[in-house]
């Protein structure tokens, strides 16, 4: 038996389109390039000073926990103690905007380092159950909850967006094809709409 993935080389992203039984649409995947992305890592012993400065200069609330927070066009995602990914909603010179924090944190430009996958639809958690070993029940993983973990042997950082069954994954760019193939192989039975946008 062959699958749609057999027709694509493992070195290239699968084509946009619908995978699975015709007329069934359980999951939508939107692949996107982050408009701007940076990693903020507090200097040794400087996490509390960084938190104060980030709030005073940029209006950011940096919780030292795996959570998403948004303010002033920026999303911050806790990736480890004293470390946050900062994702801009629109293209901008993010490292310049974060520069006032340089006394308290190492700032590393990551815009081209990651690819985003936004998953939505009623069967999203059924797809993720095949690769995510984190409890995604809303009681345990509510909107704004985030995690860094391995999915199908691929390291990812992801979070749940507010609203119904919507998750965003950041995947290292060199692993994007493998992650896309995991999603399509796991989601085709539910009908998966796969598209590059934004």
């Amino acid at each position: 038996m062959t699958s749609a993935l057999d027709t694509f080389p493992v070195t290239q992203m699968p084509a946009d389109g619908h995978y699975g039984p015709a007329g069934i649409h359980g999951v939508s995947v939107r692949v996107f390039d982050p408009p701007a992305l940076a990693l903020l890592a507090a200097r040794r012993g400087g996490a509390s000073a960084l938190t104060v400065a980030a709030h005073a200069t940029l209006g950011l609330a940096l919780a030292d926990a795996p959570r998403l927070a948004r303010a002033n066009g920026l999303g911050t995602i806790g990736a480890g103690p004293g470390r946050w990914l900062v994702l801009a909603e629109a293209p901008e010179d993010l490292t310049a905007r974060l520069a006032p924090l340089a006394a308290h944190a190492a700032i590393t430009e990551q815009t081209d380092g990651y690819v985003g996958f936004e998953l939505s639809g009623v069967r999203t958690r059924d797809v993720l159950a095949k690769g995510v070993a984190v409890d995604l029940d809303p009681a345990a993983f509510p909107p704004g909850a985030a995690a860094t973990t391995n999915v199908a042997h691929i390291n990812v950082t992801f979070w749940r967006e507010p609203g119904e069954e919507r998750f965003v994954f950041l995947v290292a760019r060199s692993y994007r094809v493998a992650f896309a193939r995991f999603l399509i192989a796991s989601g085709a039975e539910y009908g998966i709409a796969f598209a590059h946008r934004g």
């Binding site: 795996p66 860094t148 973990t149």
Partner: protein, 87 residues
């Protein structure tokens, strides 16, 4: 086996890399008995059946070292804390 990372929460052991005994202290390389001390530090290990304190690196999660109190006979974990004391 699931390890309760203080930052990430309970995660499968496959996300971690194992280092070993967390009670050892690296010897002073300038001490006169450094050769013997390093031999013992690197090669000589107890193999306790029961309570053990050990290092696990959360490579698939927060990228921090975690000191885990684990029972080697049951894998029951009594506690975990981040290296360096933070959190």
């Amino acid at each position: 086996m699931r390890i309760p990372c203080p930052y990430c929460g309970a995660r499968d052991a496959s996300e971690f890399a194992y280092l070993g005994d967390a009670t050892l202290t690296r010897p002073d390389p300038a001490a006169p008995d450094a050769d013997e001390a390093f031999h013992a530090y690197v090669y000589l290990r107890d193999n306790p059946a029961g309570a053990h304190s050990e290092w696990w690196y959360h490579s698939g999660g927060c990228r921090r070292w975690v000191k885990v109190a684990r029972d080697t006979t049951s894998h029951a974990i009594a506690g975990a804390e981040l290296a360096g004391g933070a959190r």
